[in-house]
């Protein structure tokens, strides 16, 4: 079973606590009230019974006493019934023989022994109070008083107390929910901050002085973010510094290589080949350094502006001596997108270069829309990308397997990593799939560019 969340647990605890408390309070008050009311009723019934007994005794204290007559003089109303046992004969004011059977034996014995007694009994499933008063050696007076009204009062009371207990439990739950909401608010703030940091916003900090109890949490959280930001910054600066430091010697190499290249006719074949190798590798080295710098700078914010994508794509083709006609704009897609020009130009360039290097040349560049996202697709007719490599090729320094087989690979190994980074900077993704009819299809989504 899934463990309940902190909030649910606190809420449940509050509810259970409130219920226990209110239920015991209700029970205690119910018992106290019941006992008080019953005692009072008992006293009333006893008083009435003694009074009636006195009246009956007086009625019997004549010659030829008539028990029925004596009972008749009583004013018992509807809630009481009087009975008398005279010389072993039962007399009742109202005909009702069943009542005599209900008189408990213990009580009867007490009364017979000359002790007045009182007991609560149930008769026809109704509550009654039975009072027995010995009148003389052979005359015993009994009175049965209905406790129905009192019982009803108890029922109402019990109902009311139960309702209150439930309500209190409910309020407890609500209080728990409310309290945890407030109690958890700092945690929500921490979660929000962590999410922002995960999204790359390292300026996010918690305000440390909002709650003295949480100062430690916010201070250590902020220190963690500081450390993290510093570390990331250090790594990035290192990559940037390295690339940067490589640029100056590369400038010397590039200039020197061009001097060598100019003299190719005067060189013997071996020297010329060596010079060409040097020049080619310098180009590749330069590309690598530039890509590394771009990667190191990748978390810079996207600078969106209206960019005519068709023109950008056509130019990318033109720069590579590819036919501009391979650029297709879908019918429902505007030609102008809100994107970062530099980044998208590099996306197009790297995807085309990738198709040339590993995909036997690009066959189509499609610009389409998916909701508010602009989508760039570059198709090639190469061997395609194996399913297991489709994520890894967007990592740094991972080149297509085909390239290893060929022993070639003149790219920096960072091209697709940069594509993925630029897509991510726009809030989108880069992915590779099969092109229907063979080859690979690289797809880059740029959300928000057609808003």
């Amino acid at each position: 079973m899934r463990r309940l969340g902190l909030r649910a647990r606190v809420t449940t605890a509050f509810a259970v606590g409130a219920l226990l408390l209110s239920a015991s309070m209700a029970l205690v008050s119910y018992e106290l009230t019941r006992r008080t009311l019953l005692d009072e009723r008992e006293r009333t019934v006893l008083r009435a019974a003694y009074y009636d007994a006195a009246v009956v005794r007086a009625g019997l204290d004549v010659e030829n006493p008539d028990a029925a007559e004596a009972l008749r003089t009583l004013d018992t109303g509807t809630s009481r019934r009087a009975l008398m046992l005279l010389n072993g004969e039962w007399y009742g004011r109202v005909a009702g023989t069943g009542v005599t059977d209900a008189i408990p034996v213990r009580l009867n014995e007490l009364v017979m022994a000359g002790e007045p007694a009182v007991q609560r009994i149930r008769l026809d499933d109704q509550p009654y109070m039975l009072v027995g008063v010995p009148l003389s050696e052979s005359a015993f007076f009994y009175e049965i008083a209905s406790l129905r009204e009192l019982e009803q009062t108890f029922q109402v009371l019990a109902l009311a107390l139960t309702a209150v207990a439930i309500m209190v439990a409910g309020s407890g739950a609500a209080l728990g929910w409310y309290a945890t909401r407030h109690g958890l608010r700092p945690l929500t703030a921490v979660a929000d901050a962590a999410e922002r940091i995960a999204a790359g916003d390292f300026t996010t900090r918690l305000t440390p002085d909002t709650d003295p109890d949480l100062t430690r949490l916010s201070t250590s959280f902020n220190r963690m973010v500081d450390e993290l930001a510093q570390r990331i910054d250090r790594d990035r600066r290192f990559a940037a510094d390295v690339s940067h430091e490589l640029r100056s010697p590369l400038q010397t190499l590039a200039a020197a290589a061009s001097v060598l290249a100019r003299r190719r006719e005067n060189q013997d074949e071996r020297t010329a080949t060596a010079a060409r190798l040097v020049a080619d590798e310098i180009d590749r080295f330069q590309q690598l350094v530039n890509d590394l710098l771009d990667l190191a700078r990748g978390d810079q914010p996207v600078h969106r502006e209206p960019v005519e994508l068709t023109e950008l794509a056509r130019r990318a083709c033109r720069d590579r001596d590819l036919p501009e006609s391979m650029v297709h704009l879908a019918a429902d897609t505007p030609a102008t997108w809100q994107v970062d020009r530099r980044r998208v130009a590099q996306v197009l360039a790297n995807l085309l270069d990738n198709a040339e290097r590993y995909g036997a040349g690009p066959v189509a560049v499609r610009l389409l829309r998916a909701g508010d996202a602009g989508v760039i697709e570059v198709d090639d007719e190469g061997p395609g990308v194996p399913v297991e490599d489709r994520e890894a090729i967007f990592d740094r320094f991972v080149r297509g397997r085909a390239a290893h087989h060929r022993g070639g690979g003149d790219g920096s190994g960072l091209g697709l990593a940069l594509v993925a980074q630029h897509a991510a900077a726009h809030g989108g993704v880069a992915s590779a799939s099969d092109r229907p009819g063979g080859g690979a299809r690289f797809r880059v989504t740029l959300p928000g560019s057609l808003a």
Binding site: H244, R247, L250, Q251, A254, V259, I282, P306
Partner: protein, 227 residues
């Protein structure tokens, strides 16, 4: 022969650049410091100056400002730094173009040729002189003259070329890419080049550069010169 002054403190880079530029048919001179470069330029003016930003003593930015004070020689920054901040600062100091190391010699000479095309329009004076006027602003591309309220305005060649391009298409929007390709000869390039030069131009031709009346920005589209 076209003379190029290379101000670069790294001996090997300087030597390699001089060799390569000489190969391309330039008369190349080297200077290891800004001071030496400034002296050389005053003694014998080169047609172009290539300058590094990180220099001992006077740094590249200050060197550009001092060079710019003396004349309108085309200045190209050749730097390993490619922060926006550095590029904008160098262009604002008065550089005409900015290339990041390592730059291929072919690319560098293409940049220089593009600058020369710009330079030529200033020096050629034709008999028939078309003048564009924008309120109190007059632009004569052929005469190489710009006047504001009758007073001549001193522009660098690049600023002048940019203004002429906008004036020839008065009332029409030119995108940054169009301006890059027409003024700097870039097929693809850094649009900050355009923005910084437009900013510099505004300082010189607008009464209130912060609220330009003639050289207006059309957000997302480009720039337009209007009355």
């Amino acid at each position: 022969m076209t003379a190029v002054l290379v101000i670069e403190d790294d001996d090997r880079i300087r030597l390699a650049l001089l060799l390569a530029l000489e190969d391309e048919g330039y008369e190349a001179r080297g200077a290891a410091t800004a001071e030496e470069g400034l002296r050389s330029q005053r003694r014998e003016s080169a047609d172009y100056v290539l300058v590094d930003l990180m220099l001992p003593g006077i740094d590249g930015f200050e060197a550009i400002r001092q060079l710019r004070r003396d004349d309108d020689v085309p200045i190209v920054v050749v730097s390993a730094r490619d922060d926006t901040h550095d590029i904008v600062a160098a262009l604002e100091a008065g550089a005409d173009d900015y290339v990041v190391k390592p730059v291929a010699i072919k690319e560098l000479t293409a940049r220089l040729r593009a600058l020369r095309r710009r330079a030529r329009t200033v020096t050629t004076v034709e008999a028939e002189v078309p003048v564009f006027s924008f309120g109190d602003l007059e632009v004569s591309p052929e005469a190489g003259e710009v006047r504001r309220a009758g007073e001549p305005v001193a522009l660098t060649r690049t600023e002048f070329r940019l203004l002429c391009e906008l004036a020839e298409h008065a009332g029409r929007v030119l995108s940054r890419q169009q301006l890059l390709s027409r003024v700097w000869g870039y097929d693809t390039g850094d649009e900050r080049l355009v923005d910084v030069h437009v900013g510099r131009l505004r300082q010189k031709i607008e009464t209130d550069p912060a609220n330009p009346r003639h050289l207006v920005t059309l957000r997302g589209l480009g720039y337009k010169l209007q009355r």
